[in-house]
Symmetry: C2
Subunit: 156 residues, 2 copies
């Protein structure tokens, strides 16, 4: 997988969270993983096709996504709030926006990708694995409400 | 969503399970869903791009996928078997094969789609929602080891 495919997802995540939710996220160092997957309470997944095929996921803990939702809505969420339909819709929308923003940046570099429709996964501590011979790249982020992770996988 | 986009996924599922796992599945009547998502213990998801963008998922209970695995390997699985890496790999492979087979059938009808990389979700009773303005089509299947569901969503 080309290293230049990773940075657009990192910068798209920062831009979208700041613009849409006024959330400042700090990226950690991206790392390769061959086994295991991201764990989260709610995740968004989207497929990518083009010069190489791939997939991207965002996985949030409940607390982290509720904080991001609060930023998107401009109002505090209850600490005990459930992962409602609105939260799932927001995760789908963030998945669309981050992958779309990264796609645009890759397009400017001459790599023309298409983006599929997002799916949203709920279920406490579910695990997501990208199925690909190449390693998955995990980009960890930290926020005031805790960490979340973006994973990107391209077939080569 | 065009009705003719559904049948290729139904027939691909039957063909792939029969060929790969000697499992005879009986399809139920496909139905539209606007709310809620498929629940399962292990699911495969794949993105689809082309004339319209979409996504497909397969969701299995633990018992059902272990029975299918037994058919793929030609040997019985322990009843108490965990959802191991091999099971996740098999779900990723089934997701690839079913979507690829449906893609070929759609291609013969003049609809040229691309298929992204699969992701595999584990976590007891997780829920998958396809995020799309159009309704998701659910195709229920029954097998000797219990039911599973295929969901397909296209943006229009």
């Amino acid at each position: 997988m080309k290293v230049e495919f990773v940075n657009p997802f990192l910068s798209a995540t920062l831009r979208v969270l700041k613009t849409m939710a006024s959330v400042e996220a700090s990226p950690g160092k991206p790392f390769l993983k061959k086994e295991g997957g991201a764990h989260g309470d709610v995740s968004g997944i989207i497929g990518i096709t083009g010069p190489v095929n791939g997939s991207m996921s965002l996985s949030f803990s409940r607390n982290c996504i509720l904080k991001i939702m609060a930023g998107m809505l401009g109002e505090e969420m209850e600490q005990e709030a459930e992962i409602t339909k609105d939260v799932k819709d927001a995760v789908g929308e963030l998945t669309n926006m981050i992958s779309g923003d990264a796609r645009n940046e890759l397009g400017q570099q001459g790599y023309l990708f298409q983006i599929a429709l997002p799916t949203v996964i709920t279920g406490l501590n579910h695990e997501i694995q990208h199925k690909c011979k190449a390693p998955t790249i995990a980009i960890p982020f930290d926020t005031d409400a805790g960490p979340f992770v973006v994973e990107v996988c391209f077939e080569n």
